[in-house]
């Protein structure tokens, strides 16, 4: 089953701690995950740590799921970084700023592997 959601990205402490350490597994742990509340996780029958596939009109990405009860129903969060960018919009609406927040997305449980940072970048070359 796919969950219809709104995607946003944003800063976190651990993403900041590893901002100059982006080749590390610590950076993947800090920026490569998707947060949703437990109600939404239940709707797609997934548990924390299991991978989910997030898809927007601009791409898709596989990342582990984490629970954040602060997210309202239907709101998913990926920390800013390459994993969030995989689904972000390059459209700036005429003001220079791409779309990193508020994009319609679908989320589904998956057995696919989450890409590392170099793997994500390699698929853009």
């Amino acid at each position: 089953m796919k969950l219809d959601a709104i995607f946003i990205s944003g800063r976190t402490v651990n993403q900041g701690v590893n901002l100059e350490n982006k080749s590390s597994t610590a950076y993947f742990d800090a920026a490569g995950y998707c947060e949703m509340n437990s109600t939404d996780a239940g709707k797609i029958s997934t548990d924390p740590g299991n991978n989910v596939k997030v898809t927007t009109d601009f791409g898709n990405v596989v990342v582990p799921m984490r629970i954040c009860e602060g997210n309202p129903d239907g709101l998913i969060f990926i920390p800013m970084g390459p994993w969030a960018n995989a689904v972000a919009s390059p459209d700036t609406a005429g003001c220079g700023m791409p779309g990193f927040k508020g994009l319609p997305a679908t989320v589904e449980s998956t057995d696919e592997k989450a890409p590392t940072m170099p793997e994500l970048m390699a698929r853009l070359k």
């Binding site: 800063r11 791409p98 779309g99």
Partner: protein, 432 residues
């Protein structure tokens, strides 16, 4: 040796009370910093030597600084539309050199505000900005609004030094003297410690700001029962609290600049702040990310008249966001090279933009391996500014401070690299 009064080179707070223990030219302890600042000052594995490769799928080969710099200069001279992006982790002295280089090669000068507070600059150009300094806010503000920002995660010491817990001249009880309001689409860690959490629907900040303006103007009769997911009753109650403040401050972040309506959200937030000044004193300020992104805006503005997205190809600076910012130019496939310094486009641009960057030569000047390195053809490692090099930076409130050098390293500074590239560019072009 304990070095006191060190300024943190991570975020726009520029916390200036750090103490760093240095032994044998190595940082061994960082006191008073947040987790992020301490990590930056302690350092990470860095790029040890300049590197080059023909194809982005090749392995890098180590080269000399001269070879990397000469090839970088050749690429810039051969380019018709070179992007020169980043700058926010550079010191102001380097940005000035960057403007000179952009002028010489007819480059597009853009900084990280392009994916951060660029819309704030547009909003300010529309409406101005009633603002102040973090010291004024710490000493005076008794109503504090965080709108679309989460300092617990992004600016961890902001609340203790300036906004929430700080004890000031007129706020000597600190937290007890302040009403804290958080407006966000999700209940963040900052929202958890607020007096009021206002959950706005994603992309509907403009509507809510418009409703607050109506309530402040005593026109509550025009407000629907619910606006952007927030009840009319709550809007009227909070508008009264704003008007009743002795001094109010709105801190806003990318929750406002990156969502629907973008710069128009800043435009109306500034208007709301201006309206409130008919009743009391109210200020507004963006929460800046990179420690010197404010400096990048300052230097570019005093050198060219504009803060970002500046096209130098016409011989005079030309600015039209939506046309001249990095992501617009990448998506139009208008660029034929990219020079990335003091910012990580690879990590912070949408993947579709980066896919365009993969098609053009990329020169990276940075101490660290990051996603831009994955897309680069030439990599030139430099000093970490603010740790290994002293110089000027601007705090998020545009107060300029002198960053300190803590340790010596053999790497060149960004400024030295820019000087050499500029000299080589002039040599190739045959100009003095």
């Amino acid at each position: 040796m304990l070095i006191k009064d060190v300024i943190c080179p991570f975020c726009g707070c520029l916390c200036d009370d750090l103490a760093v223990e240095v032994e044998n030219n190595k940082v061994i302890d960082v006191k008073h910093a947040c987790k992020i600042g301490a990590a930056k000052i302690r350092g990470h594995n860095r790029i040890e030597a300049p590197m080059m490769r023909e194809s982005k799928t090749d392995e890098f080969r180590e080269v000399s600084y001269d070879e990397a710099i000469n090839e970088a200069a050749r690429i810039l001279v051969d380019s018709k539309r070179p992007l020169m992006y980043g700058w926010a982790s550079c010191l102001c002295e380097m940005m000035k050199k960057g403007v000179l280089l952009a002028e010489e090669v007819g480059g597009i000068l853009d900084n990280t505000a392009s994916v951060c507070h660029g819309p704030s600059a547009l909003g300010v150009q529309e409406k101005g900005i009633p603002t102040g300094t973090l010291g004024q806010f710490a000493n005076r503000a008794d109503v504090v609004i965080f709108w679309g920002c989460n300092p617990v995660q992004a600016h961890p010491r902001h609340m203790s030094r300036y906004s929430v817990f700080a004890k000031g001249f007129f706020t000597n009880k600190g937290r007890k003297d302040r009403k804290i309001v958080v407006v966000d689409v999700r209940k963040t860690d900052t929202a958890e410690m607020a007096d009021e959490y206002v959950q706005v629907n994603p992309g509907e900040d403009y509507k809510l700001l418009a409703a607050f303006r109506a309530a402040v103007a005593d026109k509550a009769d025009v407000i629907p029962d619910t606006v952007a997911g927030v009840s009319k009753e709550k809007i009227v109650e909070l508008a009264a609290a704003m008007k009743g403040a002795k001094y109010g401050i709105v801190y806003f972040g990318m929750g406002v600049t990156q969502t629907r309506c973008k710069y128009k959200n800043i435009d109306i937030a500034v208007s709301l702040t201006t309206d409130l000044n008919a009743y009391t004193k109210f200020s507004i300020i963006p929460m800046r990310g990179h420690y010197n992104v404010t400096g990048a805006g300052q230097v570019f503005a005093w050198e060219t008249g504009y803060v970002n997205g500046i096209d130098m190809s016409r011989g005079v600076p030309y600015y039209n966001p939506g046309e001249t910012c990095s992501n617009d130019m990448l998506m139009r496939e208008e660029l034929d090279s990219a020079f990335v310094i003091g910012g990580d486009a690879g990590a912070h641009f949408p993947a579709q933009s980066i896919a365009r960057m993969a098609k053009i030569p990329v020169i990276q000047v940075d101490p660290f391996h990051n996603p831009t390195t994955e897309m680069a053809n030439i990599v030139i490692p430099v000093k970490v500014s603010g740790v290994e090099l002293a110089g000027t930076a601007y705090r998020m409130d545009s107060v300029c401070l002198r960053m300190r050098k803590l340790v010596d390293v053999d790497f060149p500074s960004d400024e030295e690299v820019l000087d050499k590239i500029l000299a080589k560019v002039k040599e190739i072009k045959g100009v003095s």
